[in-house]
């Protein structure tokens, strides 16, 4: 009984909708919804299917296979470079040059070389005091290409606080727990050279390259 009633209800509903649909189609203002063309449908179907099987497809394998040659060459070059540089560094003798300081006169607007260092000696942390603030300077070791020996540089930006246009005093102090005789000697040299070179330090903002 209930089923019969439901069927009747459904049929009447369908008839009603069919009637309104026919009316709708006859309406001159009715714009049918966009139907993708057959070519578009085919493209979309292929895209969906190919995405699912993309990684497993033989075409993808062929495609990927073209790249390893290039990657292999680069990775081989990287490894070869690391190995050759490692061999060079083993042969690199510690510079006999005593600690020395040169301000940027030879290399204007560049780094300040404060001395050469022994790779086995710990690096100091320097504190540079200006009239406005105190900031820590961690000298950054680089390989000086001119001498091919490791040296410590302090960038001008590190030494001269960017916002400090004028300063009256620079004091370099070193973390006491890092002091040993060799660094103490270098520290003395740094301090002395800073004192001596103070007159040549520009008292306006010193621009240089940005260096970590």
């Amino acid at each position: 009984m209930t089923e019969q009633y439901t069927n009747t209800l459904l049929k009447s509903e369908l008839r009603k909708h069919a009637h309104s649909f026919t009316k709708l189609l006859e309406d001159p203002l009715f714009v049918p919804p966009h139907q993708p063309s057959v070519a578009q449908q085919e493209r979309q179907r292929k895209r969906r299917r190919s995405l699912d099987t993309f990684l497993a497809s033989p075409e993808e394998a062929n495609y990927i296979r073209d790249f390893p040659v290039v990657f292999s060459v680069i990775i081989y070059s990287i490894i070869a470079t690391i190995l050759s540089k490692g061999a060079e560094s083993n042969n690199l003798s510690v510079s006999p040059t005593p600690p020395q300081i040169r301000f940027g006169s030879n290399r204007p607007k560049s780094d300040i070389v404060i001395g050469y260092f022994d790779k086995n000696v710990f690096q100091p942390v320097l504190f540079v005091k200006t009239d406005l603030t105190t900031h820590a300077v961690t000298p950054r070791p680089v390989l000086d290409p001119r001498y091919n020996v490791p040296c410590i540089t302090i960038t001008a930006k590190q030494l001269f606080f960017p916002k400090t246009d004028f300063f009256t005093e620079i004091t370099v102090t070193m973390n006491s727990r890092l002091l040993d005789d060799r660094w103490r000697n270098m520290f003395d040299t740094v301090q002395r050279s800073l004192d001596e070179g103070f007159g040549s330090i520009p008292t306006s903002r010193h621009t240089t390259r940005n260096q970590r």
Binding site: R43, Q44, K46, R47, R48, R49, S50, L51, T53, F54, L55, S57, E59, E60, Y63, I64, F67, V70, F71, I74, I75, S77, I78, T81, I82, K85, G86, S89, L92, F117, K119, V121, F122, Q123, V125, T133, T134, H135, A136, T138, R140, P141, V142, L143, P145, P150, I152, F161, P162, K163, N175, R177, L178, R209, N210, Q211, R212
Partner: protein, 234 residues
Amino acid sequence: MKITRSNQHLFLPLLLLLLVDLILILVHLNYYQYSLFNLDIEANIPTIYQGAKIFAGAFLAFLAVYIIGHQKKQKSQRTLLPRRIIGLLGAGLFFLGLDEVGTIHENIFTYLAELFPEQLYGLQDSLLEAGYLSTNWLLFYIPLFLAAGVFGIYAAIKLVKTYPRYIWLLIIGFLLIFCIPVIEYLNTAPDVRSSELYYLWTALEEGIEMIALSLLVQFCYVVVVLEEGKLTSV
């Protein structure tokens, strides 16, 4: 199965990015004495490349959010969570891009020390006394790295059903990002930093960073392609 032209190149961006990453590492290893190519120096070729790449990733993530949001109007499926996750990923990439090109993390101590000089220098002194000798920006970014780690795990869990074939990009990308602070802590320690092999550590740290971000950018690209496919197929 015939591969359509657009899908055949799905992984082309990743391959090209990895290629450039490796070339930059190789150039750094051979010419690190030149600031233009040194991975440890800012405002040079590697920095511009990395910044552009990260911004591209952020743009793709935001584009994916837009596309998924557009799908919602056509299909009654739940898309809010993926949109939020990918949107957060995009926001994180955008911040990283700003950080990279603006050298924020290198200068974070300076910026904060200007605002809170006594506290910052007091903190620095006590950390030095306690034996912390690595770079100081790391301390300020540890919470961010932890947040990124938690977000990476959450995102991977929530998106694994949506993008099962490509979630490895996200997982490996975040795992590599999590390696960065560890390597940074090690390679900025005085004994490593003073050694002549410091540039190798730099290559390792910056290389991991570049590859991690290439994977995340590729993930964003894949999401855009997949979601755009769903959009046109409706």
